[in-house]
C-alpha cells in the first residue's frame, strides 16, 4: 500500500513548466532520495507533496487523502507529513523546548505536560536534551537543524520530507544531521529527501529518483542505480558530483 502517490503531476510557474507529468509511488518505510541538478524541479516536487505549492494537473495523495493547498486540508495533511527546511526555520523568539512543544499543544491540543514529555523525548532522540531551554540563535547550524527534526517528529508524522537539509550547513556539521536521519531510517520512518549527499543516498537510502528537466528521468534501488546508471544524463550527473 502506497503512502505517497503522485499521478501525472504538472506544475507551472506562469509559463514555466516545472513539473512535466510526475508519477511516483512511495511505500511506508522507504527512504527515497531525490537527486538532480538545480532547476530540475526536485524542491518543487517536495513542496507539492506537502501542499506548499499548488499543482495544476494530476493528483497527489498522502495516506490515501488528496493533497490541496486549501487551508483546512493543509492542516489535516500536516498531521501526516513533516517537513524539514534547508534554513531550519526555527521560531527565533521561542526556546528550543517551546519550538518543539508549540504544534502539539495548539494543533493536537495536547496538555502542556504531555507536550513537554514528547518534546523532551524527541530532543533526546536528536541528542539535544540539554538544550531544552536555549534559544535557537545560541545553537550551531547542525544543532538547529536537529531541533527542526525534533519539532517535526513531535507531530508523529507518517512521512518526513527533507528539503536539502544539509546544504546550508558548514561541512563539519553535516555528519551529525545525517546521523540523526540514518537513525530515523533504521527505526522505519518514511523519508523523502532532496539531497546532494550521494553517499548518504547510496548507503542509507532504499531508492534514488533522478530528476531531469521536470521529469523523473531514472529511478531504482539506490546502490544499483548509482553504480550502474542507464541514461547519459544520470551518468553525467554522477560524474559531476562524485
Amino acid at each position: 500500500m502506497s503512502l505517497v502517490n503522485l499521478h501525472q503531476v504538472h506544475k507551472y510557474y506562469g509559463d514555466h513548466h516545472v513539473l512535466k507529468g510526475i508519477d511516483l509511488d512511495i511505500k511506508a518505510g522507504e527512504v527515497v532520495s531525490i537527486i538532480g541538478k538545480s532547476g530540475s524541479g526536485k524542491s518543487t516536487l517536495l513542496r507539492c507533496i506537502n501542499g506548499l505549492e499548488q499543482y495544476q494537473q494530476g493528483g497527489i495523495t498522502v495516506d490515501g487523502k488528496e493533497v490541496t493547498t486549501d487551508d483546512i486540508q493543509m492542516r489535516r495533511l500536516a498531521l501526516s507529513v513533516g517537513m524539514i527546511f534547508q534554513n531550519f526555520n526555527l521560531f527565533p523568539h521561542m526556546t528550543v523546548g517551546e519550538n518543539v512543544m508549540l504544534a502539539p499543544t495548539i494543533v493536537l491540543k495536547k496538555s502542556k505536560a504531555e507536550a513537554e514529555a514528547t518534546a523532551r523525548a524527541m530532543l533526546e532522540k536528536v541528542g539535544l536534551a540539554e538544550k531544552f531551554d536555549s534559544f535557537p540563535e545560541k545553537l550551531s547550524g547542525g544543532q538547529q537543524q536537529r531541533v527542526a527534526i525534533a519539532r517535526a517528529l513531535a507531530m508523529s508524522p507518517k512521512v518526513l520530507l527533507c528539503d536539502e537539509i544539509t546544504s546550508a550547513l558548514d561541512p563539519e556539521l553535516v555528519g551529525e544531521v545525517l546521523k540523526v536521519l540514518e537513525q530515523l531510517a533504521k527505526e522505519g520512518i518514511t523519508l523523502v529527501l532532496v539531497t546532494h549527499e550521494m553517499n548518504f543516498a547510496r548507503d542509507v537510502g532504499s531508492r534514488v529518483v533522478f530528476m531531469h528537466q521536470g521529469k523523473v528521468w531514472e529511478q531504482g534501488d539506490s546502490k544499483t542505480l548509482l553504480s550502474n546508471p542507464q541514461t547519459d544524463e544520470l551518468k553525467q550527473f554522477i560524474g559531476a558530483v562524485l
Partner: protein, 216 residues
C-alpha cells in the same frame, strides 16, 4: 492692555501643552487602532482588500496633513456634519498616523522570513494561530522602535490643529504673541516645549533599536 509677566506666559503655554499631549495621545491611539485593523486586513492576501488599503495609505501619505484637516473641518461642516475643531483634528491625525503606521508595520512583517509562515503551515497552524504565536511576537519586537520614533511626527503634527482653531500649544503661542509682540521669546519657548516632549521619545526609540539589534 494687560501685561503678561514671564510667569504668565509660561503658565499659559504649559496649560496649553496639556491639550497638545491629549491630542497626540488621542491621535496615536486612534491611528494605532485603525492601523492594526488595516494591517490585519492586508495580511488576508485578498487582492481587493489589499488594493483598498494601498489606496488609503497613498491618499493620506500623499496629501498634506493641513489639507486633510481643512477637509475634515470645513469639508464635513459644508456637507452638513457639524464637527468641532477637536473632532476634526483627531479625525485627520488618525488618518495621517494610521497611513504611516500601516506602511511601517508592513515593512516589519515583510522582513520576517517567508520560512516562518511555511514552517507554521507545515506544522498545521492556522492563519490566525500563525499570526498570533509566530508573526506578531516577532513583528512587535521589530516594530516598536520605528513606531515610537514616528510618535514624534504625530506630536509635531498636532501643531497644525492650531490653524483650524484648536487651542493647543502653538495656538496659545500665537495668541500670546499677538498680545505681547515678543515673538522671539514666545516661539522659542513653544519650540522648547515641543523639544522637551519629543526628545525623550527619540532617545527611547534609539534605545529600543539598539536593544533589539543586540538580541538578534
Amino acid at each position: 492692555m494687560i501685561e503678561f509677566s514671564n510667569y504668565d506666559i509660561l503658565r499659559n503655554l504649559l496649560f496649553a501643552t496639556q491639550w497638545t499631549i491629549l491630542l497626540s495621545l488621542a491621535a496615536f491611539i486612534g491611528g494605532t487602532t485603525v492601523a492594526l485593523t488595516l494591517t490585519a486586513l492586508r495580511l488576508t492576501r485578498n487582492p481587493t482588500i489589499q488594493r483598498i488599503v494601498k489606496v488609503y495609505v497613498e491618499l493620506f501619505q500623499g496629501t498634506p496633513l493641513l489639507m486633510q484637516m481643512f477637509l475634515c473641518f470645513f469639508g464635513l461642516s459644508m456637507l452638513g456634519y457639524e464637527i468641532s475643531a477637536w473632532g476634526a483634528a483627531i479625525l485627520s491625525l488618525t488618518f495621517f498616523t494610521s497611513a504611516f503606521l500601516v506602511e511601517i508595520w508592513r515593512g516589519c512583517i515583510d522582513t520576517l522570513p517567508k520560512g516562518q509562515w511555511e514552517a507554521s503551515r507545515c506544522l498545521g497552524l492556522s492563519f490566525l494561530q500563525t499570526l498570533r504565536f509566530i508573526i506578531l511576537p516577532q513583528a512587535i519586537r521589530v516594530a516598536t522602535a520605528p513606531t515610537v520614533g514616528f510618535s514624534v511626527q504625530v506630536i509635531k503634527g498636532t501643531a497644525l490643529a492650531s490653524v483650524i482653531g484648536f487651542v493647543e500649544l502653538t495656538k496659545v503661542g500665537t495668541m500670546l504673541n499677538n498680545a505681547t509682540f515678543e515673538p522671539f521669546k514666545i516661539f522659542t519657548l513653544v519650540a522648547l516645549i515641543y523639544f522637551v516632549l519629543c526628545y525623550p521619545l527619540s532617545l527611547y526609540s534609539k534605545h529600543l533599536e539598539k536593544k533589539f539589534n543586540v538580541s538578534r
